[in-house]
């Protein structure tokens, strides 16, 4: 389908595609096997100006919107959803600074992020606080010019490899979610350490660790926005970044589809390519239709967010992540089926995609929580209609 991309958008897609095929494809198995952090890839991405396309131009970025970011993440995810995630995770961690940072904070952090010199992690999840933010146990206590952080964050993407962290902590436990605040932390701050690296099912090129705060001293000027704004900032950030996760899922699905079509034309059984079998054709047709539907929804949402960053687009963002991730799971399972026995083997790239796809249904709001949000929005809308 033609989405009428402008010249810059076409360039981003073309460059990302080239990069993914020339630089990521040859090493994706390596990073999947070793679970190393893909530093060489990130350095190359930085050289191509692809790291900070969403950072405003005055801070050295390209000033592109979430829509261009979606195009980029999709293209990279077609080849490797894990490596693409590192880039998307930096976006997630950077948005709070872009949205609520003071001029000093932006000047301090954004240029290095734009240049790709530093990665960023966003930290909200805790062992006992996933979707339920109000139950968060990391505490930030004000002491003079500092906040003293105590607690542990878990499953934090790029943790340990990032230099910059945007961390949600409770400044006033009594006020529930209104007592949360966000701080900018830097690797190496006193009392800030990392837990062990998690071993994951998929997206293994991306690193995941715990953040451990043990009387961690954070200067007062590192508070983002005001005290108590943490929950709002986090929710807004997740709204904006959800199309990013959706595009990761979309890319994984689209890559699986591309490879499955190619494979079905090469693989011969009974003297003919399996693409000549209707059983295979129908699987491919369903895969393609679902991928295109996901793409249409993700692009439309991303364009909506890009056009209006002030309003929250909770429902649409939730829908696109929910739909694209379910499509990714379904399509990768089908792609493995098209590959048959080879699909199950780690020598081929298909089973990896299936493993990678699973996380997109879980993180940044499980699909079940997203359904709640969508339903809540529907009911709220209807209530407003009937009361007016």
């Amino acid at each position: 389908m033609d989405y009428f991309l402008d010249d810059d958008q076409k360039m981003i897609v073309e460059l990302a595609r080239k990069f993914a095929h020339e630089k990521i494809k040859p090493v994706r198995e390596h990073y999947d096997e070793t679970e190393e952090f893909p530093w060489p890839i990130m350095e190359e991405l930085a050289k191509l100006d692809l790291c900070g396309i969403f950072v405003p131009q005055e801070y050295g970025g390209l000033g592109k919107t979430i829509f261009e970011t979606v195009l980029l993440v999709e293209e990279l995810s077609k080849v490797d959803g894990g490596i693409a995630l590192t880039l998307a995770a930096t976006g997630l961690g950077t948005f709070p600074i872009m949205l609520y940072g003071t001029e000093e904070q932006k000047k301090k952090y954004l240029p290095d992020i734009a240049k790709g010199k530093k990665q960023v992690s966003f930290a909200i999840t805790e062992a006992n606080s996933g979707s339920d933010v109000a139950s968060m146990q990391t505490i930030a206590k004000k002491e003079g010019d500092y906040y003293i952080l105590n607690g542990t964050k878990c499953f934090i993407t790029s943790a340990g490899d990032s230099e910059i962290y945007t961390v949600v902590a409770m400044t006033d436990k009594t006020r529930g979610s209104r007592g949360a605040s966000i701080f900018i932390l830097e690797k190496g701050m006193e009392g800030f350490t990392f837990g062990k690296k998690e071993k994951k099912m998929g997206i293994r090129a991306s690193s995941t660790r715990e953040l451990v705060f043990n009387n961690c001293k954070v200067p007062r000027e590192n508070l983002l926005g005001k005290e108590g704004q943490g929950f709002i900032i986090a929710m807004k950030t997740l709204d904006i970044s959800r199309p990013g996760v959706a595009s990761q899922a979309l890319g994984i699905a689209a890559g699986a589809l591309e490879d499955a079509v190619e494979y079905s034309r090469q693989r011969k059984q009974f003297g003919n390519p399996i693409s000549s079998l209707q059983a295979i054709q129908h699987i491919l047709a369903d895969m393609a239709t679902q991928v295109e539907a996901a793409r249409a929804l993700v692009y439309a949402t991303a364009k909506m967010v890009a056009a209006d960053m002030k309003t929250r687009h909770t429902r649409e963002c939730a829908m696109s992540k929910l739909f694209a991730s379910d499509v990714a799971m379904k399509v990768t399972v089908d792609a493995v089926q098209v590959y048959g026995g080879y699909g199950y083997m780690r020598e081929y790239p298909m089973e990896k995609r299936m493993r990678d796809a699973k996380i997109t249904q879980i993180y940044e709001g499980t699909n079940q929580v997203l359904r709640n949000e969508i339903a809540a929005a529907l009911i709220k809308e209807n209530l407003q209609k009937s009361s007016s």
């Binding site: 360039m11 460059l15 190359e44 050289k47 191509l48 100006d49 692809l50 396309i53 390209l62």
Partner: protein, 268 residues
Amino acid sequence: MNIIVCIKQVPATTNVQIDDKTCTLKREGVESIINPFDEYAVEEGVRLKEKLGGKVTVISMGPPQAESALRETLSRGADEAVLVTDRAFAGADTLATSYTLAMAIRTVGQFDLIICGKQASDGDTAQVGPGIAEALDIAHVSYVRKIEQTTNKLDNPADNCMRVERMMEDGYDIVEVPLPALITVVKDINTPRLPSLKGMMAAKKAQIPHWNAEKINADKSRIGLSGSPTWVKKIFYPPPRKGGDMLSGEPQELAKKLVDKLRELKVI
């Protein structure tokens, strides 16, 4: 260091077809790219510039659509590009092409180094680089696989010199060449970078001048067909190679069959 890189736009595939009617190559619908060997030349030029300062000017002779290849070199770090284009250049062989590019380089003016790819993937001649050097009366080294060192003395340009490794069939020669000079480079010399996004955006907007025969002061008798001693009499497909015996079986059997056959043929 002022560097000039000469590039050629070539068909993206070497699997080209002959038009049955005209008996010439079908050019329509074939995607065009930068000659892959020239990508190493561009990359080496940009690397030298990044190390030593100066600028990289890329020159190509070809039809107006070759502009897209030049634009790509700008996105990969070249500073300026010139397209040498004129219907009068059509049909040039390597001698006429060398002359034309040399005249264009003279028009650019001062330079320290000219870099070419070892050959173009369509013509496969490897003759234009040395031809340009001769036309400009400068030294050249072909098949360079490494630039060991450059001495770029601004105070005494006469001492400017470069030490390079020239690939030979069984090793390499280390050669010193005074600047200005021309080198042709092989794949071994570097890994070309991808363009940067900012580079692509700037390249899209860049002005690429088109120079015709008059602009470069070319002698009409030395360009295009009239300046080309060699003529293509005909083109044809090489006879396809036929397959032979497909051997299958256990490894020991296979090995025995093969060695027996080779001994039968008295080749081992």
